[in-house]
Amino acid sequence: MNAEAVLKKTVTWRWSSRLPMQMKEKAIESLLLFAALTSVAITIGIVGVLVYESIGFFRQVSLWDFLTDTQWTPLFSEPHYGILPLISGTLVTTAVALAVAVPMGSLIAIYLSEYASRGVRETIKPALELLSAVPTVVYGYFALLFVTPALQALWPALPGFNMLSAGLVIGIMIVPYVSSVSEDAMRAVPVHLREGAFALGATRMQTALRVVFPSALSGITAAYVLGISRAIGETMVVAIAAGMQPTLTWNPLEPAATMTAYIVQVSLGDLPHGSVGYQTIFATGLTLLLMTLVFNLAGHVLKKRYRQIY
C-alpha cells in the first residue's frame, strides 16, 4: 500500500475512537492523583495515630507532670512520666553532634565552593556521598566498639555507654548533609560579589568569610537547622552506644537515653497494647515529631529566603 492510502486509513481512524480515548485519559489522571494523595494520607496517618494514643496517655498523666517531672520511669511499680530526662539526652547528643558537624561541615563547604579544584571536588564529593550512605546501625557499631574504646584510652573513667561517642558519630554522619546544603547556599552567591572583594585585594579566605559566608547566611543557617532536625531524629547510634537509661543529665560523659532510644527500648520488649506503658512511646513520639517539625519548618523558611534573594 502506498503512503497516501495508508494515511487515508489513519484519517478515518481518528474520528471513530476519540471518546474512549478521552475517558482513558481522565481515568489515568485520576489514578495519578490518587498516588499523589497517598502522601497526604500518610501524614494524616502519622498525626492521627500519635495524637490518638497521646490523648489516651494524657488522660492518665497530666501534661504538667509530663513536662516537669525529672524522672522517666514508666515501667516501674511507682511510675514517673517526666519527659525531661529524654529531652536532655536528645539535646546533649545533638549538641555534641553539632559541635562536630557545624565547624566541619561549614569548613568543607567553604573549601569546596571557594577553593577546591576539580580534582579535589571529584574525590571529596563521592567520599561524602559514601559517608551518608552507610547504614546507621553500622555507625552505631562503630561508636560502641571503636570510638568509645578510643576515648577510654584518653579518659579511662569514661563509661562504656556515653553520649559523647554517640554524639561524635552522629556529627560525622550529618557532616555531608550540612556541607552540601551550605555549599549550595554559597554557590548561589553571585560571582560579582566575590569579584568586588577580590578587586579590593582580598584573599580567598577574607572573601569567603566576610563576603560569601554572610551573604549565604540564611542558607547556611538552614543547613544547621536541618542538621539539628536530623540529629534529633537519629535512633540507632544512640540506642547502641549511649545506653538506654533515662537520666536527667547535661554531662555528655554519662550514659543517657534519648527520646528515640526509649521508643526502641519499649518496642524491643513486650508491652500490652493499650497500656499506659505502650502509650508512652506515642507521647514521646509526638514530642519528637513536634520538635523536628519546628526545626524543619524553620529550615524550609530559611531556604526559601536565600533562594529568593538571588
Partner: protein, 314 residues
Amino acid sequence: MSLKNDIGKSTDAKLVRRQILRSQLRDRFFAVGGLLVMAVACLVLLALLLQLAYDGIGRVSWQFVSSYPSRFASQAGILSAWIGTILVMILTAATAIPLGIGAAIYLEEYASKNWMTDVIEINIANLAGVPSIVYGLMALGLLVYEFHLGHSFLTAGLTLAMLILPMVIIATREALRAIPPQIREAAYAVGATKWQTVRDHVVPYSMGGILTGMILALSRAVGETAPLITVGALSFIAFLPRSPLTSEFPFISLQWLFDPFTVMPIQMFNWVSRPQDEFHVNAAAAGVILLAMTLAMNGLAIAIRARFRKRIHW
C-alpha cells in the same frame, strides 16, 4: 619610598607588603585547614570501613550466610535475615515505586497551580524530614493493630515504602523537570495526548534520573532499622517464611506476607547489643555484608546516572 593616596595619608610600602604576606599566610592556613578537615572526614570513613572489615570479614563464610540465628555465637548465621531483607525490599519497591512515580508525574505534568497542589507539595517536603522511627510508630498503631496486619512482612514492606515515598517522589520530579518543554511541545504538535506524551517521551527520557532516585531510596530502606524494630521485627527467627510457591493449585501462596519477619540491620543490632565479644564479631560480619549490599546499590545508581547522562544531552 612612601605612597600618597588622595586622602592625604602616606602609606609605607614595606608595611603594606608585610600586611599582604600576613593575610596570604592566613589564607594558606585556612586552605590547609579545609583540606585537613576533609582528610579527617575521609579518615573517619576509612577507619569505619577498616574496623568493620577487620572485625568481621573473618567470620563471613558460607556457614554464616546459610545458618539461622542461635544462642551459640559460633553457630549463628544470617539466613533468615538476608532473605528477610530481600523479601521486605521487594514489597517496599512494589509499593513505593509505582506510587512515587505516579505521584511525581501527577505533580509535574498534570497538577494545576491551586491550593490542593500546594498542600500536597508542602506535605511531601515535610514528610521527607520526619524521623524514621515516627513512621514505625504510625505503622504500629495503624497497620499492626488497626488494620490487623500484625508483625508481618506486609507491615514491614508498607512501613518502609511510606518512609521512602517522599524520596522517590522528589527524585522523580527532578528527573521529569530536566526534560525541556520543547520536547513536550513537539509531541503535542503531532497530536499526542497528555498521557501519550508522558508515557512515550517524558518518562523514557528521564529514566536515568528516575532509576537513580529509586535505587538510592531503596538503598536507604535496606539500612533502616528503627521503624522495623517498632513494627515488631523479631531478631530470633530461626525459620523462613512460608514459601510463595505451593505444590497445588493455584501454585502461588500469599501466606508469607503475614509471617513474622527479620532483616539484616536488626540482626546486626541484636548482636551488637549483646555483651559477649563473639556476638560482636557476628555483628561485624553482618555489617560487612549489609554495607556491601548498600554500597553495591549506591554504586549501581551512580553508574546508571553516568550512563544515562552520556546518552542524552540537551
